[in-house]
């Protein structure tokens, strides 16, 4: 009888049971934080009676600007979670020396390290990137929307559900302890028998499909929806960089999807793609994951390059230097980024021929990157530079990115890589590239485009203070890691011997993390103060920085239809040229067709979450039912024959008059 009950329970709940709730105080603390955070949000929304508003205005929206805001909110919350992981790691490494074992068990430390990398790349960097692209790109190319609005919303919700699955792992079961890329054989069932790696696989699988769909969406948007007259060579540099990045997404993300699927087959049905023994080949996994992983780095950094191009020319009040060179440099990087993946494992023993080839290809990427740096610097030459905080982030970027880049060129020599691979030298290098290159760029972008989305400017002084804490903290946190690498410290160590002399440097690095934390505090303060003072900070002109590209030609906040009439482009920096020639845009109105809201994106992504959750816990019935749910929802959606609605020219005119009226009111306030 008991046996029968047990079997029924297994069929229903799979491996899930009460024993999967964490009991160790620190792990339970993490779980409690997540549960309380979610409960708090639910309570707050209920208390404010905002559920209907949340559903109608946000969850069902197809407006890329709102989707962009949601991406960024999720990414910033995950930035806090990822930073929490970083603080715990630095704390452990500062005290876990000799006889002291610190505060974390080694398996918990390894879970935190794996979660930190996974969250920062997939749910912070990718989230910020897609968020900013959604906010800016359609406006910049003079479009009203993306090519496939419903798909765009679905991509966001898949991203959201992937994020949710990672965080559920804090409460039920555990997370992968096999590193952020979960190399087999360690990530195989034999060595990682708990559900941790399954959470990793399915969270990335769900979010990854979302990213792939977004990539296709923006590719088509750029290629098909540019304003009339905007030839490719008249596109703003940000649009070029997104085109490069999204091409990489379209080619690289399918590799990730397949690799994760094969690993999932190994773990769920006992296949032997990557197992140790049984004909499995773990080295194949390492090759495949980096064939996605290296382009991924450029997927993240190219849009940041585009952002820097916009910011430097705006704040130097000068045309971008070497536009054509910049375009060629982007495409050189796009092509080369697929020819270097092996430099992540020179130490696998592929032999001198192979290593030398990939080493040289890696060094070659430094050429187009160097060209871009010189072009930015010469954009400043004979300019009139105002050092607002986006410009400060740019200067910080050039500094850290150059140091990190030099370290990168060093490591491209296989014989040097043998000595620094997997060491903290490598960790310092890629943080300089991804934080200094990518995150600084996205922070700059948030300050730069904030008024366009919300209608008021962020507090400048607090923004600069945040920047200086970030920059100094960042250097203090990562320069010691270069030295620690030379001292033999490898990554992901939860304990080391006192005689090695590493502890003081780990403590210094920890101080750096505290400084970064203060910087983050100032960013939060900046946001709060700016919202508080929003009426004084209104951007009445729509063009707060004397901008150059089309997004500044519309009022702030940008109306949901972006343009009353689609602009016609004749020059590169169209809006700047218009301002120079004193051309005043006559207000013209036309009928506008926009997508209707739809809740089906949320439904599809929720089913995807349940597919993943079912696979993690071996509740196969749940996965099957949810998969069917996705298919049925797709069929229902495709039956919808009126996914769009029209606003007539008269309604647009009325809305515009209302807006002008509102602006006058604000003007009175100021």
């Amino acid at each position: 009888m008991m046996n029968l009950v047990g079997q029924c329970a297994f069929a229903l709940l799979g491996k899930l049971g009460w024993n999967q709730i964490p009991r160790n105080p620190i792990e339970a603390g993490g779980a409690a934080t997540i549960v309380c955070g979610v409960l708090f949000i639910v309570a707050l929304v209920t208390y404010l009676h905002r559920w209907k508003w949340l559903w109608k205005e946000w969850m069902t929206t197809q407006d890329p600007k709102r989707i962009g805001v949601m991406y960024i909110v999720v990414a910033l919350v995950m930035l806090l979670r990822g930073s929490g992981d970083a603080i715990l790691m630095r704390l452990q490494q500062s005290i876990s020396v000799g006889n002291n074992n610190g505060i974390l068990s080694s398996s918990h430390f390894q879970q935190i390290a794996s979660a930190h990398g996974t969250i920062m790349i997939f749910f912070v960097a990718m989230g910020l990137m897609f968020g900013i692209i959604n906010l800016v790109l359609p406006l910049q190319i003079g479009a009203r929307d993306v090519a496939f609005p419903f798909l765009n919303a679905t991509s966001f919700w898949l991203f959201f559900m992937g994020m949710a699955l990672v965080n559920v792992s804090l409460v039920l079961g555990d997370f992968s302890a096999a590193g952020w890329l979960s190399y087999p054989p360690l990530s195989e069932l034999r060595y990682s028998p708990t559900v941790g790696v399954d959470y990793w696989i399915w969270a990335l699988q769900i979010a990854g499909v979302g990213s792939l769909l977004s990539g296709v969406n923006f590719l088509v948007t750029i290629l098909r929806m540019r304003a009339p007259g905007m030839t490719l060579m008249k596109m703003p540099m940000f649009a070029w960089s997104v085109l490069g990045s999204m091409s990489l997404v379209a080619f690289a993300f399918p590799i990730l999807t397949v690799t994760l699927a094969l690993l999932a087959l190994d773990r769920t049905v006992g296949a032997h793609f990557f197992t140790a023994g049984g004909g499995g080949n773990a080295m194949m996994y390492v090759n495949l994951i980096w064939a996605w992983g290296h382009p991924e780095v450029y997927i993240l950094v190219l849009p940041a390059f585009g952002i820097y191009s916009e910011i430097v020319s705006t704040y130097a009040r000068k045309r971008l230097f070497g536009y054509t060179s910049m375009v060629w440099a982007i495409w050189a990087i796009v092509l080369l980024s697929f020819t270097v993946w092996l430099h992540h494992f020179f130490t696998m023993g592929a032999g001198a021929n192979v290593n030398a080839f990939f080493g040289i290809m890696t060094a070659v990427i430094a050429v187009p990157t160097g060209v871009k740096i010189f072009n930015w610097i010469f954009t400043m030459h004979r300019g009139r530079i105002s050092f607002r905080s986006p410009m400060l982030w740019f200067l910080g970027f050039v500094t850290t990115f150059t140091i990190g880049g030099v370290a990168g060129v060093m490591m491209s020599v296989p014989a040097i890589d043998f000595q620094v691979h997997n060491s903290l030298f490598l960790v310092a290098h890629f943080h300089m590239m991804i934080v200094g290159g990518v995150v600084f760029g996205y922070f700059a972008a948030l300050t730069y485009w904030f008024p366009k989305i919300f209608g008021f400017r962020l507090h400048e002084k607090l923004g600069s203070i945040a920047f200086w804490f970030w920059l100094v903290g960042f250097l203090v946190a990562f320069i010691p890691l270069y030295i620690l690498g030379f001292m033999g410290a490898t990554r992901r160590l939860d304990h080391y011997d006192a005689s090695l002399g590493w502890q003081p440097l780990f403590i210094v690095a920890g101080v750096g993390v505290v400084l970064i934390g203060i910087g983050v505090g100032f960013q939060i303060l900046q946001l709060v103060v700016s919202i508080w003072q929003r009426n004084e900070r209104r951007d009445l002109s729509g063009d707060p920085w004397n901008g150059r590209t089309l997004e500044w030609s519309v009022p702030s906040p940008a109306p949901f239809y972006n343009f009353t009439k689609q602009p016609v482009v004749t020059a590169r920096d169209q809006f700047w040229e218009d301002k120079q020639s004193g051309k005043n845009r006559v207000k013209e109105y036309e009928d506008i067709v926009l997508p209707k809201n739809s809740g089906l994106s949320v439904v599809i992504a929720s089913f995807a979450f349940l597919v993943g959750f079912g696979m993690v816990w071996h509740m196969y019935w749940l996965s099957l039912v949810s998969l069917l749910g996705i298919i049925v929802t797709l069929v229902v959606r495709s039956m919808n024959e009126e996914p769009e609605y029209t606003i007539t020219a008269r309604e647009v005119e009325k809305l515009e008059h209302q807006r002008e009226h509102q602006l006058k009111e604000y003007e009175g306030l100021v």
Partner: protein
Amino acid sequence: MKQHRKIILGAFVLCLLLLATTAWYLGRQPVPVLQPAGPIAEKERNLIIFTVLLSVVVVVPVFSLLGYFAWKYRESNTRAAYSPDLDGNTLAETVWWLVPTAIIVVISVVTWRSSYALDPFKPLSSSKPTLHVQVVALDWKWLFIYPAQGIASVNESAIPVNTPVDYELTSDTVMTSFWAPQLAGQMYAMPGMSTQQNLMASRTGSFAGWAANISGAGFAGMTFTVKSMSDSDFNNWVASARHTNRKLTTTQYAQLANPNTPNQIAYYSWVQPQLYNTTVLKYMTPSTTKNMESNT
């Protein structure tokens, strides 16, 4: 203006102080990558220094131009030239396509040559015969088998000074990486694979080694020591290992490979013949794999 000068001077002094403190601290600490004890590690260290010096060619112009332009073309300096429509200069752009290319050509030549010269699989030439050591990564310890001497040790590997050593590497668990930075760079140890790291110690001493790739719960403690010693000391070390009465039979090996067996230095006077090869091969033959999995 004066205030700016003070700030710049202050920052400069602070940087110098930081550099001096760091140098002082490092002078008193082991920095294995930069303190080679053998020809391979020494050449790798020299490459590091060479590339750092070469990078100065790029870093100095980038930082000085960045600082200079940022200073000179600041908004408040209305005396500086302002050319809003200046958007390119073929000569300048050619220069910064070509100069980085030239640097990369130099790096490429260095990469090509050093990849062959410092190939970990390449035997080192010496008048002395090469010592063969077979290394098996276990959970979470390093087993060193000396086939010619018929002994084995755990977490400690003695080698005679100025003698080429050929470490053959495999793993009887997940993949990890074998790294003794004062002697040579690292090489992966993988199940079902045999890789190599040839190296030589040019002075006597104890050199720390690490597992450099995450391999599960005991990963942080998976350290070893390479002890470089005179030929006679090495012979004594072998002899003393032979005098211990522990034999590395198949059963003993299974015991050692168990993750629960404590990770400590041990010596074995006898080793099951072909232990290394069977360890590599067992991951490549289907039948044994099945047995292996049913055991876990």
